[in-house]
C-alpha cells in the first residue's frame, strides 16, 4: 500500500503545467489510492493536524530527551530543595544596550528559623548565564553516539553528573533539588513508550481474538464476547491495584515497567478486539469479499489482500485513541504508588511527588508534569479523531 502510494505520488506529483493543471488535479484524484485520499481528508481536519504535530514533537522529545533536558533525571542539589522556577531572560541589559545573552536570576536563600524552612527569593541582582548548545553532562544519543551537547543549560557543569552546582530550574525543583523540567522530559520517554508498547501488545491480543471472533462467529464469537464483557465490567482501578500488588517487589525497575505494561494491555485489548470484530462482521457480508472468494482466493489471501486493507485505517485510528488511555492508566497507577517506582521517571511518578497538600501549597510547580499529560492526551485524542474521520475515504 505504501509503495502504491509512493508510486501514485511519483506518477502524478510532477510539476503541473499551468494550462492543464485542472485535468492533472483530476487525474490525481482518479488514480489516488486509499492512503492518499485519507491524507487529503485528514489534512482538512485542522485540530487533528495540530494534534498530529504535537504528537510528533512529543515523540521527538522521547528520542532526544538527553539533548533537550538540561540535567540528568537524577541530578540533585541538596541546597535547592523546592526551589521555585527561575524565569528565563533572553536579553541582557548591558552598557552597550540590549544584547542576546540568556540568563536566569540566582536565588538568595534564607533559613526561616521559626519554621526551620529554607526560603528562596529570586535574586534580581545575581545573574546565572545560560548557554544554548552547551557542553554538559555526557550521554549516549539514541543509545549509540557519545555526546555531551544540551539544547540549554548553565555555563558550568559539575564533574559529578548527579550534582547540580549552578541552579537553573526553569520549572522549579522538587524535594531533592532535582530539575522538574528535566524530569518531565525524561518522564515523557517512559510514559509515551509505555503507551506505545502497551497499545502494541493489546493490539496483538485484540487483533487475534477480535479477528477470530468476527471471522468464525458462532460459539467462538459468543465466548470471546462474554469474556470481554466480564473484563470490562470489573472496576479497573481495584483490578490494577490487585494485579500490581502481585508484582514481586524485588523486580528491577525495567521488569516492573514491562509488568505494568502487560497488566495494562491485558485489560486494554478488549476495546480493540471489539473494533476488529465489528469490521470483520461488516466486511464478511460485503459483495467484494464474496467476489474475491469466487475468484479463487484462499481464505488467507482474502483476509490479507481484501479485508485487512479495508479496516487497517480504522485500526490505526483506534490505536491512536487507545494510547492516551494507556498513558492515563499508567499515570493513575503510578500516582497511587502501584505502578512504576523511582528511580524510573514517568509522569505518574512525578505527579506522585505532588500528592500531599503541603507539597502542592509550597511547590505548585510539581503539578507541571500534569500539564504535559493533558497536552499529550488531548493531542493524541484530536489526532485519533481526525484519523477516524478520514479512515473511510469512500464513505458515501
Amino acid at each position: 500500500m505504501l509503495n502504491d502510494r509512493k508510486q501514485v505520488e511519483r506518477e502524478a506529483g510532477g510539476p503541473a503545467v499551468p494550462n492543464n493543471s485542472r485535468s492533472t488535479e483530476e487525474a490525481r484524484v482518479l488514480v489516488a489510492s486509499q492512503w492518499l485520499l485519507m491524507w487529503r481528508k485528514f489534512r482538512k481536519h485542522r485540530l487533528a493536524m495540530v494534534g498530529g504535530t504535537i504528537t510528533i514533537v512529543v515523540y521527538l522529545v522521547v528520542l532526544f530527551a538527553e539533548f533537550l533536558a538540561p540535567f540528568p533525571s537524577n541530578a540533585f542539589s541538596s541546597q535547592h530543595t523546592y526551589a521555585p522556577p527561575q524565569p528565563l531572560h533572553l536579553f541582557d541589559r548591558t552598557a552597550e544596550g540590549l544584547r542576546f545573552s540568556p540568563y536566569v536570576n540566582g536565588y538568595s536563600i534564607t533559613i526561616n528559623q521559626a519554621a526551620l524552612k529554607r526560603e528562596f527569593v529570586v535574586d534580581k541582582a545575581s545573574k546565572v548565564p545560560v548557554r544554548l548548545f552547551v557542553h554538559g553532562t555526557p550521554y549516549k544519543l539514541l543509545g549509540l553516539f557519545d555526546a555531551d551537547l544540551h539544547l540549554i543549560g548553565p555555563s558550568v557543569y559539575d564533574e559529578d553528573p548527579t550534582r547540580i552546582i549552578i541552579p537553573m530550574y526553569l520549572l522549579g525543583a522538587d524535594r531533592l533539588g532535582r530539575d522538574v523540567l528535566s524530569r518531565t522530559i525524561y518522564g515523557t520517554r517512559i510514559s509515551m513508550t509505555l503507551g506505545l508498547v502497551g497499545v502494541a501488545l493489546s493490539f496483538v491480543i485484540g487483533l487475534t481474538l477480535g479477528g477470530v471472533s468476527g471471522f468464525y462467529g458462532g460459539w467462538v464469537d459468543n465466548t470471546i464476547q462474554r469474556v470481554i464483557e466480564l473484563l470490562r465490567s470489573i472496576p479497573t482501578i481495584p483490578l490494577w491495584m490487585g494485579l500490581a500488588a502481585a508484582l514481586p517487589s524485588d523486580w528491577t525497575p525495567l521488569q516492573v515497567f514491562l509488568g505494568i505494561t502487560i497488566l495494562l494491555s491485558l485489560i486494554g485489548w478488549t476495546g480493540l478486539a471489539r473494533v476488529v470484530r465489528g469490521r470483520f462482521l461488516a466486511l464478511r457480508t460485503e459483495d467484494f469479499i464474496l467476489s474475491a472468494r469466487l475468484d479463487g482466493n484462499s481464505t488467507a489471501r482474502t483476509i490479507r489482500v481484501h479485508m485487512i486493507p479495508a479496516f487497517a485505517s480504522h485500526i490505526i485510528a483506534s490505536l491512536t485513541l487507545a494510547i492516551p488511555s494507556m498513558i492515563l492508566s499508567e499515570t493513575a497507577l503510578s500516582f497511587l504508588g502501584l505502578g512504576l517506582r523511582p528511580p524510573i521517571v514517568s509522569w505518574g511518578v512525578l505527579l506522585k511527588e505532588a500528592q500531599n497538600i503541603r507539597a502542592v501549597a509550597t511547590a505548585p510547580w510539581l503539578l507541571l508534569p500534569g500539564i504535559a499529560v493533558i497536552i499529550t492526551v488531548l493531542a493524541l485524542n484530536f489526532l485519533g479523531d481526525g484519523l477516524r474521520d478520514a479512515a473511510d475515504p469512500y464513505g458515501r
Binding site: 482518479l30 488514480v31 486509499q34 459483495d287 464474496l290 474475491a292 475468484d295 482466493n297 479495508a310 469512500y394
Partner: protein
C-alpha cells in the same frame, strides 16, 4: 440429466435458520429456495424472475456455490462432456468450476473492492489462478477493458473514479477474465439508469455472441427479461411456478401468478394500455418461514378451488413441450398474456 442441458438443477433446497430466544436457538427456517428444478442449455439465456424475496438471488448463489445448498443436485456438464454434481463439493474441489461459472453482481458499488485499481480488480482472477502475471496480465486486462467498452488507459484508476455503468462494465470484465462458459447475472442491470441499462444489455448480448456464453439472467424487470432471455423461469416463494420460452410465456402464460405478473408490466403504447386490465393480487407475499399449505399461491389466486389447491402441492410438470407449470388447472385455465411489442413492431 437432460442430454441437451449444460446445467440442470434438481430439487434445489436452501433453508436459512432463524434464531430466537435467549439462547439463540433455531426456532424455524426461512425456506428461501424450496425445491427448484430448472435447466439451462448451452448458448441460451435463461431468465429467472419473481418478486423481491422469492429466492432468485439465493438460487443463483447456490448454483455458483456461494452457499452450500441443503438438498438437491446441481449437475454441470463440462466442455469435455463429463457431468459433475456441484452441490456436495468443497471449496477446494470447486475451484476449477468457479473459473467456468462466473457471477456478475447487482450492485456495482459494493462488489468492487474500493482499495484496488482496475488493473488489479480485473486481473485478480488471472493472478490468483496463475494464468498471467506482470506485463502479460496488463495486456490481458487492457484487452478485456477494451472489449467491455472502457479505455485501457484507465486501468490504474480506482473504482471511485467511475460511474455506475462503467463500474458494471468493470464487473463484467472481471467475470469474463477467466473465459467462463456460464455467467450468472444477478440483477446485473437493476441498479443502473435506464439509458445505461440498455447499453449494458446490448454489451451482454454482444459478448454472448462473441464468446458463446450461456447466461442465467436473474431479474425482476420483465421488460428486460423479455428483451434478453430465450426462456424464462418464474419463481414464487422459493418454488418455480412456470418455465417456458419467452415468447410463449409472455403470450400464453399457464400459471395464474405469471398472468398477474405480466399484467403489471407497464405498457408504453397508450392504445394498448387502455385495453389492458391489471390483475391486482390481494394479500401479501407469504412469509417463506411459514408458507401456506398446498399450492403456495392459493390464498392470492383468483382461480383457486378452495379444496385441492389448499391441500395438494402441485408439482412442476410439462404441459406442452418445453412448457413447465406448477398448477393443478394449467390446462383448464385460459389465461391472458401480453401482446409482445416485438411482434407488433
Amino acid at each position: 440429466m437432460r442430454s441437451d442441458a449444460m446445467l440442470e438443477v434438481q430439487n434445489l433446497k436452501m433453508h436459512f435458520p432463524v434464531y430466537g430466544g435467549f439462547f439463540r436457538r433455531v426456532v424455524g427456517h426461512v425456506k428461501a429456495v424450496d425445491g427448484v428444478n430448472l435447466f439451462i442449455c448451452p448458448g441460451e439465456t435463461l431468465g429467472l424472475v419473481g418478486e423481491s424475496g422469492c429466492g432468485k438471488t439465493t438460487t443463483g448463489r447456490c448454483i455458483i456455490r456461494a452457499y452450500k445448498p441443503l438438498d438437491g443436485q446441481i449437475l454441470y456438464r463440462r466442455a469435455d462432456g463429463s457431468v459433475v454434481d456441484l452441490a456436495p463439493l468443497d471449496d477446494q474441489s470447486l475451484r476449477p468450476y468457479h473459473r467456468e461459472i462466473r457471477l456478475i453482481f447487482q450492485d456495482p458499488y459494493s462488489s468492487l473492492n474500493p482499495r484496488m485499481p482496475v488493473v488489479d480488480l480485473v486481473g485478480e482472477p488471472l493472478k490468483v489462478n496463475k494464468i498471467a502475471t506482470g506485463k502479460e496480465l496488463e495486456d490481458r486486462v487492457a484487452e478485456l477493458l477494451r472489449r467491455v467498452g472502457l479505455r485501457p488507459e484507465y486501468m490504474k484508476r480506482y473504482p471511485h473514479a467511475f460511474s455506475g455503468g462503467e463500474r458494471q462494465r468493470i464487473g463484467i470484465a472481471r467475470a469474463l477474465s477467466l473465459n467462463p462458459r456460464l455467467v450468472i447475472c444477478d440483477e446485473a442491470v437493476s441498479a443502473l439508469d435506464v439509458s445505461v441499462r440498455a447499453q449494458i444489455l446490448n454489451l451482454l448480448e454482444d459478448l454472448q455472441a462473441e464468446f458463446n456464453l450461456t447466461y442465467l439472467f436473474i431479474a425482476h424487470d420483465l421488460s428486460v427479461v423479455e428483451y434478453i432471455c430465450d426462456r424464462v423461469a418464474v419463481m414464487y416463494v422459493g418454488k418455480l411456478v412456470e418455465l417456458a420460452s419467452t415468447d410463449e410465456l409472455f403470450a400464453q402464460p399457464q400459471h395464474p401468478y405469471t398472468e398477474a405478473l405480466l399484467s403489471a408490466v407497464p405498457q408504453p403504447d397508450p392504445l394498448i394500455r387502455d385495453q389492458k386490465q391489471r390483475i391486482v393480487l390481494g394479500g401479501e407475499v407469504p412469509d417463506p418461514a411459514n408458507p401456506p399449505s398446498g399450492c403456495y399461491f392459493h390464498p392470492r389466486c383468483r382461480y383457486s378451488d378452495g379444496a385441492r389447491c389448499m391441500n395438494e402441492t402441485p408439482a412442476l410438470r410439462e404441459t406442452t413441450p418445453l412448457h413447465f407449470v406448477a398448477c393443478h388447472y394449467a390446462e383448464k385455465l385460459s389465461l391472458r398474456g401480453v401482446i409482445a411489442p416485438r411482434i407488433l413492431a
